[in-house]
Symmetry: C2
Subunit: 100 residues, 2 copies
C-alpha cells in the first residue's frame, strides 16, 4: 500500500535547466527522506507554479514529509502551499502501467 | 520532455478493492489514451476525494485528456474537477529516482 503526495505552490523561477544548479542539493537530500520511493519535480512557467508528485511507502512518512516541507517552503517565503495525500489503488493503477 | 497531469475531485466511493469492479473497464480504456505513459489511481476516503496522477509524453495529449475527462466526470455528476498540468524537470527528478 503506497501513498501519493501532491504538492504545488506559487513559484517565479528559475525554470527547467536553470533550476537544476539551485535545487540539486535539495533533490539529493530529498532522495534520503524516510519512506520516499520517488519524487517527480513539476513546474508550469505559464501558471507561475511548481511543486512535486511523490510516492511514499506509507501514509505516516507522507504526512511527516508534508509537514516538514511546508515549513521549509514557508521559511523560503512560500505561503500558499497546497498539499494532498492519497492512497494508491493498486489494481486499477497496474492496468494503467503505473510505476508503483 | 514529459508532463504530469494531477486530477482530483469530490468522491463518495466505492473505495479500494470495492472500486475495482466498477472502474476496471474505464482503466482499460485509459490505458489506450494517446500519449499516456501511465496513470496512478488515487483515493482519500477521509477527505472524500479521488483522482489520478498521469504521466503524458507531451503537453497536447495531457490537455486533450484533461478536457475529455472533465466532460466525462461532469456527465457523471462531478462538478468540482481540479486539474493541473506541469512539465517534468527531468534532471532533478532523476536524482529522486523518478519513473519518467
Amino acid at each position: 500500500m503506497s501513498y501519493i503526495l501532491q504538492v504545488d505552490f506559487p513559484y517565479t523561477g528559475p525554470w527547467g535547466e536553470d533550476m537544476v544548479p539551485a535545487m540539486e542539493g535539495l533533490a539529493q537530500s530529498i532522495a534520503e527522506e524516510p519512506g520516499l520511493l520517488w519524487k517527480i519535480w513539476t513546474e508550469n512557467e505559464a501558471a507561475g507554479e511548481a511543486g512535486g508528485v511523490y510516492l511514499f511507502a506509507d501514509r505516516a512518512s507522507a504526512e511527516a514529509y508534508l509537514s516538514m516541507h511546508t515549513v521549509r517552503l514557508q521559511s523560503a517565503g512560500v505561503t500558499q502551499v497546497k498539499g494532498k495525500i492519497f492512497r494508491v489503488n493498486d489494481a486499477l493503477s497496474k492496468i494503467d502501467r503505473a510505476p508503483i
